[in-house]
Amino acid sequence: MVFGPIPNREYHEGHMRKAIEMAELALASDETPVGCVFVHQGEVIGRGINGTNASLNGTRHAEFVALAEIMAKHPPSILRETDLYVTVEPCIMCASALRQYRIRAVYFGCLNDRFGGCGGVMTVHSDPGLDPLYPVYGGLYREEAIMLLRKFYVQENNKAPDPKPKKNRELKTEILPISTPQVATPTVGTPTSEIAGLSLGKAGRAKSPVKAG
């Protein structure tokens, strides 16, 4: 996997920090720890955590929850001047929505190797299509984003009436390093397994309404 270099990285890390904080708050509330903020001219105009459990709607991802907050005050066109910071790569659905809304850029923490639409599984942000492409920058607070998800899955499995075998309940702390950037492209290269490192029995719980991304 190649995450391209991010110009002015510290600035973007500042915003990603806020997304991480959202994810931390979500984790503390037993909600999937994915957080996001939309930033317009340096200012946060929308924040989101997963809303699928509250709505019994599997599409109510953090990005959409944040968009709802934005649209309460702004016209959709504001998104053309807005950047998204999300702890986990947007899924295919969100990636398409963001493109149709013409988001300016997307910054994320770790790849979403189950549903990712910005390099993890598909490349909706850069495929040929009607709407303009948007650049994607991955790897901001990547380790933190992964650890939050791992903590959540361990937490969930320990809560389950029939907990998974012990090895699945222990928090893995080792995170494989990403390779150094080889090309100066803003988009994400070949997908690899990142959240898969979690592999914490989510698949076994078919009815879990939570979803990353």
Binding site: G51, C91, A95, R114, L130
Partner: protein, 579 residues
């Protein structure tokens, strides 16, 4: 089930109840990709009598001869069932050898059961006098497994290619031919491949999509509903009505979605939604419910962005809504939508993307589930809802609802939204059926995956925006899709069956094809009966009939869907819109 049968319908007018459209299952990405993958194999012709011996030699001496699974192909094939290019110019020397001799007096029979592993046996049939020894072609192994020279020297050591004390050597001719790498996914495909490459089995399984029998069962349920249940014609008509209703009200474009639950072949209509992308966004004061009840009027329904947005119609904010004016506004908007089609970067992504019909319908299902949820589920949902406040999110519910628009906006939507016909504590849209006027965009397609739907049927393909179909190009018409095939992707954790609801023209073409096919089969059956009265019979009935397909079928038609594109594209007034 009260089904609205509003004014105009193409089909149900008059006494002619014949459906004008048919369900055609959408190919999966894998089917499209692997359907054309081939592999090179060595073949060799020999007197039938020696087939078993030669196969034994190969099995014992060529390592990896069966490393590639080619069980969808016959191991032995009679020359008359092989395409001409595989036979090539028949060798004169071989013909000379083909005089009756001692080792050729018995004619073997090939018994290849579809479930067998290339086994064959020789039942003791009474030999028939003829002047030419029967031969068989053997598919040796992939040519990557052994080199031509090695194979040649191996075979030359064994009969019939080695000369012995009592017989001449049979001339060894090794040919490299191209065969399909993967198993066919339908009967038609097996027939086509048999004709084009090598006799191919269709085993009524499909590793690249839903099992054919599952598809047939579902199709049958949808097309032949039992008494009192809705038919696919009715639901598709309702989807169109849903889109028509929101369009008429100035809320969106004419695309619609109906969600149906089918339990023990009893149908319930769960949700009906039309597109509402043009409804006034919350930032401009749009509300989640129609201002005047469900007699929706366009007064608060146009895009707020006005002229600021180049690609959206600027229709102003007229507060009056006389019928004439409404019509005029609609005309204007349609014109704007149309104008936007052609211009790149103006794919009519205008308005509220979240109000696509699919997203609205999925949201309605969630709301209905909340309404009937058990205490446990509803308190869990309430707790999750309170998390928004706990993490300090703004909590303007009206604005949120006006954005997602997952509540009814038209009387038709309301009629079905208000009914509590979902069982408590069902999961998302698990196994529900989704009926759509148009192939949904990537966002909506993935939303269907996230929602675990069971079956999806759409009427119009969207070659520039659709996310469900997997075909990308078609020989005659060029690009026909983006190729995402989200309905069945192994990478994703959920797959569902998907059909295109296509026009009569296509269906008739299909039927004609089928009839032609049947005629060929019958003709061939007769011919074979005459020719080989007491000899070879292959096990496997109809499946084998197809594997025996020879040169009668029209060549060069690898894509059986060739004809439907014209029927199903072009009728849209907005081909470049995300639906």
């Amino acid at each position: 089930m009260g089904v609205r049968a509003d004014s105009k319908t193409d089909s149900a007018a008059g006494g002619d109840r014949r459906p004008t459209k048919h369900m055609v299952h959408v190919k999966t990405k894998e089917e499209c990709r692997l359907g054309t993958v081939t592999i090179q194999v060595w073949t060799v012709e020999m007197p039938s009598k020696h087939a078993e011996g030669v196969l034994k030699v190969i099995k014992e001496n060529i390592e990896g001869h069966d490393a590639v699974d080619l069980q969808h192909l016959r191991r032995f094939a009679k020359p008359k069932f092989l395409p001409p290019h595989v036979l090539g110019d028949r060798d004169l020397a071989k013909e000379l050898h083909a005089i009756p001799r001692a080792w050729e007096t018995r004619r073997p029979a090939v018994l290849q059961h579809p479930n067998s592993r290339w086994e064959w046996a020789t039942p003791g049939k009474v030999p028939r006098q003829e002047n030419r020894a029967p031969t068989l072609y053997l598919m040796v192994c992939p040519s990557s497994v052994i080199g031509l020279q090695d194979l040649r020297s191996l075979l030359l050591q064994h009969p019939p290619f080695a000369s012995g004390a009592d017989s001449w050597a049979y001339p060894l001719v090794i040919k490299e031919v191209t065969v399909p790498r993967m198993a066919p996914t339908c009967l038609e495909q097996a027939a086509e491949w048999s004709e084009a490459y090598w006799p191919t089995f269709y085993r009524k399984t499909n590793p690249f999509g839903a099992h054919p029998s599952t598809i047939d069962k579902a199709k049958n349920e949808l097309e032949s509903p039992t008494e009192g249940n809705v038919s696919i014609e009715q639901v598709m008509e309702m989807a169109d009505q849903a889109g028509l209703a929101t369009e008429k009200a100035g809320l969106g474009i004419r695309t619609g979605c109906v969600v149906v639950e089918r339990v023990d072949s009893k149908t319930e209509i769960i949700a009906v939604a039309g597109d509402a992308r043009l409804r006034l966004p919350p930032s401009a004061g749009g509300s989640p419910v129609p201002s005047s009840g469900f007699d929706a009027s366009p007064d608060d329904s146009f895009l707020a962005e006005g002229t600021e947005d180049a690609d959206v119609p600027s229709v102003g904010s007229e507060k009056t809504a006389s019928k004439a004016k409404r019509k005029k506004l609609r005309k204007k908007r349609n014109k704007a939508l149309k104008a936007a089609e052609g211009t790149e970067s103006n794919g009519c992504s205008s308005g509220n993307v979240m109000a696509h019909a699919v997203m609205r319908a999925i949201g309605m299902v969630g709301r209905k589930r909340l309404r009937v949820a058990s205490h446990m589920i509803s308190s869990a949902a309430a707790k999750a809802e309170s998390n928004f406040t706990r993490v300090g999110l703004e909590h303007d519910e009206d604005a949120r609802d006006a954005f997602f628009l997952d509540m009814p906006l038209t009387p038709l939507e309301q009629e079905y939204f208000q009914v509590n016909n979902l069982k408590p504590d069902g999961y998302l849209c698990l196994k529900l059926e989704i009926f759509l006027t148009h192939e949904p965009c990537m966002m909506c397609s993935m939303a269907l995956v996230h929602s675990r739907v069971g079956r999806v049927i759409f009427a119009n393909r969207m070659p520039r925006t659709g996310g469900l179909t997997a075909e990308t190009v078609r020989n005659d018409t060029g690009p026909i899709g983006l190729g995402y095939g989200l309905c069945w992707r192994k990478e994703l954790n959920w797959q569902f069956m998907c059909w295109e609801w296509t026009s009569a023209a296509y269906a008739m073409e299909q039927k004609a094809r089928q009839e032609r096919h049947t005629a060929i089969m019958q003709q061939k059956g007769r011919r074979r009966n005459v020719e080989e009265a007491a000899t070879v019979t292959a096990a496997g009935g109809e499946i084998d009939d197809d594997a025996d397909e020879d040169t009668d079928m029209a060549p060069d038609q690898p894509d059986m869907d060739d004809d439907d594109d014209n029927a199903n594209a072009g009728k849209l007034s907005f081909t470049s819109v995300h639906v």
